[in-house]
Amino acid sequence: MRYLPNSPTERAAMLEAAGHKSIDELFAQIPENLKLRAPLNLPGPLSEPEILEFFRQAASQSAKDYVSLLGAGAYSHYRPVAVDALISRGEFFTAYTPYQAEIAQGTLQAMFEFQTLIAQLTGMDVANASLYDGSTATTEAVLMALRITRRNRVVLARTLHPEYRQVLETYVRHQDVDVVGIPYQPSGLLDLGALESSVKDAAALVIQSPNFLGAIESVHEISEIVHRAGALLIVTVTEPLSLGILRPPAEADIVAGEAQSFGVPVAFGGPYVGFLASKEKFLRQLPGRLIGETRDAEGRRGYVLTLATREQHIRREKATSNICTNQSLCALTATIYLSLLGKKGLKALAEHNLAKAHYAAGQLRAIPGTATPFAAPHFNEFVVKTPVDAEVLLAALREEKIIGGLNLEKFFPELKNHLLICVTETVSKATIDRMTEVFRRFGTKSDSQSTAARLSTAPVGRNS
């Protein structure tokens, strides 16, 4: 087997030196009746070209020839090739968690840079060195809030990613915590009225911004209501590219989210990289790895894993979380990606996404029978009401090699025939126009409705 570095002679020499007669002897500890009799029923062995062929086959049954307008927590952005070139260096991707700081400064310094970038983006004081994904990061934020406030009610915006809510429910099910939801307004934004009443003696409110319907919440207003009630405000961000042009949720107590947008492949849902940032005062309640700056025996600056006393390997059942392995390499990916973009690039890219999505929304809303029902400002995602049955339309778009967004009915029964459409820099004007054409084909009839639609949806510039 090409991966195994020991030759038959070396094996024999070691076996003898270890004082054993046979390989079987090494497994003497295992009772005979527990041993496997037949060989495993598995495919292989395959040579390298055969492995490549196997996965090329699988890849041929994919959407690789389609343009995707799907977002909803996983965003297609262009990935500069330098990112893979760097994370593919063996010293990075074949290293373990940096327990031995002297020979892990590469990972440690990069993760310190990641923590800094996340703090800068979110407007928080501190951030950790990544969690599994946005859903578990949001969940850990809630668990933090429960520990901090010692309260046991959690209020969720219904416009939080539905799968994030499901994950949260799984984690808190046995903590006797009750989880309540608040609806959204016709604008797509959080219903502040409902908030007032429900947030009282709650541990925290969790909102997402831009929310699952694409609407950008006014964190500032919300935070005042939440803090008046003595609760914590947790803001989740699934598309952090938006923070290139959006005011950071600095009034929040904890900001959680998903950094997949930053150079991590969409890869059918993972691996991604969750982030968690908070105010300085909650620092010791943060779960997961934290990298700290320090000095060495000769006064040189260096980095170490710190505040390990929060963690499972020390605190065991009393730990702030059970997380051990996190998503370092994806965090490194995001760090390199953000370093490449930098201040200028991040802003420009965010502006491109904004422009593409607004061009698409504008084109669509001009089509009879089509509407963009939620008037709140959006970034690169928005909701479209389809002129015909959404599945019919999606099928028609597939004919054009376009995956036309997410049918919201799956998560929001009241939003039958509504699509969540995401338009990033990877979608060309030509594709947007082709998509528009398909809508138009279905949209000719029922003109009255369409004007109504158009009225209901003039974009609301806050300045105007």
């Binding site: 270890a18 086959q57 063996g90 799984t170 923070l243 691996p271 320090t294 499972q312 059970n322 392995t325």
Partner: protein, 504 residues
């Protein structure tokens, strides 16, 4: 002092600042294509109070500087590609390059999790096929790839136990966990709403049946057992253990982090295990990436299948793959989407490359290597549980501690010899543990150098313990002050003078 240190010195590179400290205004490492739609004013569209002009303190560097910065940082890391990485309990084996290639193919790397099933058959097939292989390897009946790492696999498994018992009428109060267990075990049990009841190991470092009978009361939901345990010892009585737990109406969870000792040789299903997790980033060669991403699939017996996380991947009678969301008894979701898919791709590539015979040979080599190390060092390092081991061996620093040198110090000195250290101070039942897992990826010549190094260090400790206490001597930084880091934590860069001097 001891043998001369045989080492190869890479050339020096300049000191490296933080990326933020390399910034100069106006630079960027990317240029965007021209915008092909009308530009919009973000400030107008968003309104003044939602608009942000820019991100303060963000880096501004060219592509070249990014390449140099992270290339240099990488040279201060040690990886499996650099050399022997005998970190106990972590199974630091070779990460085949072909895994990385196939995981980056268009399709597996680019498909969206919400793509219609008709356009995701390839990805769904990879998930289904990986699950099938893992079921075959463990002997279990069903597998979920949703958990993102081992700890989340544990949580998922214990939640499954709870859901099952709850349906039987009573979820019960306690989970039994041996004192030798990994910290994630109790932590995961707690989140599942259980109290942890500690199970003391016997003189062999294994489960004591009498003690088990004492603590396995009928308010105990189950036992969380690592096998081979964290001493690298197989729980010979596992079948009896499982029977007794079952007899009391409890279920048995197995932490499969140490499966590298068993693949192709024995199957947990035959041990009486009801539910377990695997670490694809250990046993199945997916890279650790400096601390993840990992993947912690959960495998269960038939009767627990209804409780697996949602969705599951199924194959229709026509052979098409689909996601099943209609699972009323499921514990729900532990993660968005379907888990760390990219790790499944790599693990499957590894299984295909090896085939049944290769996987068994791999296990044999892993166990042989560990026993070879054990046999060559037991005369100089104390072996608290003196018996043949499986995939790893655990010494203690008892003799060296007598001269004031602890396992952590020996580890630092080992770095000077060009090796990544073993795991220090785990498991907790061995004071001052040296936990050594060579894996199958260590060849004899390298193990001989490693053994020579540890013997030489033992000798150095006899002659000059002070010298060893100050190690390492050859690294970029040495003996970083962890107390200082924790006292007044600096977790991010801020503009202005850095707190500490950059290293010189």
């Amino acid at each position: 002092m001891g043998n001369p240190i045989r080492q190869a010195r890479p050339h020096v590179t300049r000191n490296e600042d933080l990326i933020f400290e390399r910034t100069s205004p106006g630079k960027s490492g990317v240029d965007l294509p021209p915008l092909d739609v009308p530009a919009v004013s973000a400030e107008d569209v968003l309104g003044a109070d939602l608009y942000r002009a820019d991100v303060d303190g963000f880096p501004e560097v060219s592509e070249l500087e990014v390449i140099r910065h992270y290339t240099r940082l990488s040279t201060w890391n040690y990886g499996v590609d650099t050399g022997l990485y005998p970190l106990g309990s972590c199974t630091m084996k070779y990460n085949p390059r072909i895994n990385e290639t196939v995981a980056r193919l268009d399709g597996p790397a680019t498909d969206h999790p919400y793509a219609p099933a008709s356009l995701a058959q390839g990805c769904l097939k990879i998930l289904a096929e990986t699950a099938r292989c893992l079921a075959e390897i463990t002997g279990m009946d069903a597998v979920s790839l949703q958990p993102a790492a081992g700890a989340q696999g544990e949580l998922t498994g214990i939640l499954i136990i709870r859901a099952c018992l709850a349906e039987r009428g009573d979820p019960r109060k306690f989970i039994l966990i041996p004192d030798s267990a990994h910290g994630t075990n109790p932590a995961s049990a707690t989140i599942s709403g259980y109290e942890v009841r500690n199970l003391k190991s016997n003189a062999r470092g294994c489960v004591d049946l009498a003690e088990l009978d004492r603590v396995m009361t009928d308010d105990v939901a189950g036992l969380m057992l690592t096998n081979p345990n964290t001493l690298g010892i197989f729980e010979t009585q596992i079948r009896e253990i499982a029977d007794r737990v079952h007899a009391k109406g409890g279920l048995v969870y197995m932490d499969g982090a140490n499966m590298n000792a068993l693949v192709g040789v024995a199957r947990p299903a035959d041990f009486g295990v009801d539910v377990m997790h695997l670490n694809l980033h250990k046993t199945f060669s997916t890279p650790h990436g400096g601390g993840g991403p990992g993947s912690g699939p959960v495998a269960v017996k038939k009767f627990l299948e209804p409780y697996l996380p949602t969705p599951t991947v199924e194959q229709t009678s026509e052979g098409a793959y689909r996601l099943n969301y209609n699972r009323p008894k499921s514990i729900g979701r532990v993660r968005a989407f379907y888990g760390n898919f990219g790790m499944a791709v790599r693990a499957l590539a590894y299984i295909l490359a090896n085939g049944p015979a290769g996987l068994r040979q791999t296990t044999e080599d892993a166990v042989l290597n560990a026993n070879y190390v054990l046999s060559q060092l037991k005369d100089v390092y104390d072996l608290p549980y003196d018996q043949p081991c499986m995939h790893e061996c655990v010494f203690s620093d008892r003799r060296q501690a007598a001269r004031g040198v602890r396992t952590g110090d020996i580890a630092k000195r080992l770095i000077d010899y060009g090796f990544h250290p073993y795991t220090t101070a785990f498991p907790l039942i061995v004071p001052g543990a040296l936990m050594i897992e060579p894996t199958e990826s260590a060849c004899k010549p390298e193990l001989d150098q490693f053994i020579e190094a540890l013997r030489s260090i033992a000798e150095e400790i006899e002659q000059d313990p002070e010298f060893v206490l100050k190690a390492p001597y050859t690294t970029r930084v040495r003996r970083l002050d962890e107390a200082h880091a924790a006292r007044k934590p600096v977790l991010r860069w801020r503009p202005g003078k850095p707190l500490e001097q950059p290293s010189r």
